[in-house]
Amino acid sequence: MKKKPLITGIIFTTLAWITTGIPLKPTPMTLPIPAGWPAPKYDTRQNPLTVEGFVLGRKLFYDQRLSRDSTLSCASCHQQFGAFATFDHPLSHGIGNTLTTRNAPALQNLAWQEAYMWDGGINHLDLQPLAPLTAPNEMGETLADVLHRLQHDTSYQRLFKAAFGDTAITTQRFTKALSQYLIRLISADSKYDRVMQGKDTFLLPERLGYAIFQQKCSSCHREPLFTDGSYRNIGMPPDNTLNDYGRMRITGKKEDSLKFRVPSLRNVAITHPYGHDGRFFSLLNVFEHYRKSGMIPLSNFEIGQLTAFLNTLTDTSFLKNPLFAPPGYTITPVFIHRH
């Protein structure tokens, strides 16, 4: 009997909230920073991470209505089981039988990245989704049409209100919600990470491979993010149908010709194909390129040990994290991979 006033109180508060429509404050969410990592580059003070914002961002990420003909979502080319790269497409597929000119990169640890795209042309994560959304050979939509569609969808009105306090759906909120989902895509729980934390040990080939890696690869693929964030020319001749000269298009400088961003090697075993245009089908092709071009001399033995080490960078708890799966699923459903 003593509990009755409390329950009545809760009921009255709830009723008062429902009738007055004063929204509850969104629940803060923290951005986990793995031990030994530098401070993230993304400023969450400008976009405080909340559960509601993350949930909204995740829905947007998996929503095919963001494309002109409602066939593609962000997740069409960024599949969780492929570390949010495309599992087997060298070049990404756009709407209406189009192809892009580049391989979709893995989406992981984006809060630590300074610039986006293979050429680093985009200087802020919030701005990044606008490029694939509006490119005619990607999602082919206009920002105005997408926002109009969301503004007339009651489920989105509800989600925007929960995340931002009212139902206004603007470019800023749309992109901030997407960023809240994207910055949570953190991969830092591979076998390599566990070994570094003293919780696991390398097998012999993995250990030998790590030593070779540190000697021959880690100056560009710097730990712990496995990239130094720079742009480099690794001697891939330009394709005469793509005519992609990389970083030069952004800076206008001749010395940046054919330079592309150094990709992270986290989850590298499953992010094939490789290279900015996906020309390397397997890791073996990449090793062959370095070996034949003379950039990095590698023996067959070294290639074997390096492969063993690179496999330790696969983070299955990231690839199967139900938090990142589409709303209503615990794992990426097969239909995501149908185009």
Binding site: Q46, I122, H124, L127, A131, L133, L147, T175, I250
Partner: protein, 240 residues
């Protein structure tokens, strides 16, 4: 003079802000600009029709020769197709403005740090998504001299980094007529100030560098052509 008297004097001398209107008048060779209607000719005898004319105005400074005042306005998009956008409204404490300064384009500050709203909303299309940055000014149209697809010329001028910067500062002395109501000696406080700025689009072709539609119908990225076009249109503004 005691402190109270001094304070009173400061309060009395403190200039009262009064309304300020700045109006942009786009024209071609002293004739008002009509979109998609009239064919004009530039100095190189190239005919052209204009479909779009937009530019960002920012960092407005008003000065009377002694004091300079920055108007607390966000960057503003002037769009010939939207007549309301041709006027800016603010307030100034400068009673008798002799000079106006402004930039065509937005500061690098706005080109970093994510998605902006209002006139800077990327949704308005004055923005490059693939190479982050605002398009500071746009002139688009048709010309038989432009050997680009559909004879279109499309000039999008942007770029904010060193070596690609297209931000241009315009300084225009104001004629006495710019502030006629305030200039009567009997007036105790100045009336609303109106500044009419003419922008002659012919300068886009030859203001500083000769730029032919035949040779350069397309400008879609930061670089030398964008900077030359910025030099050109920065000479197009006047107040008479």
């Amino acid at each position: 003079m005691n402190i109270i008297q001094a304070l009173l004097l400061i309060v009395l001398l403190d200039p009262v802000p009064h309304p300020l209107t700045i109006r942009f008048h786009n024209e071609v060779c002293n004739q008002p600009l009509h979109l998609d209607d009239q064919t004009y000719t530039n100095r190189f005898h190239e005919p052209f029709l204009i479909l779009q004319c937009k530019y960002y105005i920012a960092n407005i400074l008003i000065s009377d020769g002694k004091h300079e005042e920055q108007l607390p306005l966000q960057p503003h998009l002037v769009d010939q197709a939207d007549s309301a956008s041709l006027e800016l409204h603010g307030q100034t404490t400068i009673a008798y403005p002799r000079e106006i300064k402004f930039t065509i384009g937005v500061d690098s500050f706005y080109n970093i740090g994510g998605v902006r709203s209002g006139d800077l909303d990327p949704m308005l299309g004055m923005f490059w998504t693939w190479n982050t940055g605002y398009i500071n000014a746009r002139l688009e149209g048709l010309s038989d001299s432009a050997h680009a697809p559909a004879h279109r010329f499309t000039w999008d001028i942007g770029g904010y980094k060193a070596g690609q910067n297209t931000l241009r500062t315009i300084t225009i002395p104001l004629p006495l007529s710019a502030n006629a109501p305030a200039l009567t000696p009997a007036a105790k406080s100045p009336g609303p100030t109106e500044i009419l700025i003419h922008a002659d689009l012919l300068h886009w072709f030859d203001g500083a560098h000769p730029i032919h539609l035949t040779r350069s119908p397309i400008c879609h990225e930061p670089g030398p052509l964008a900077m030359q076009l910025a030099d050109n249109y920065s000479t197009s503004f006047s107040c008479r």
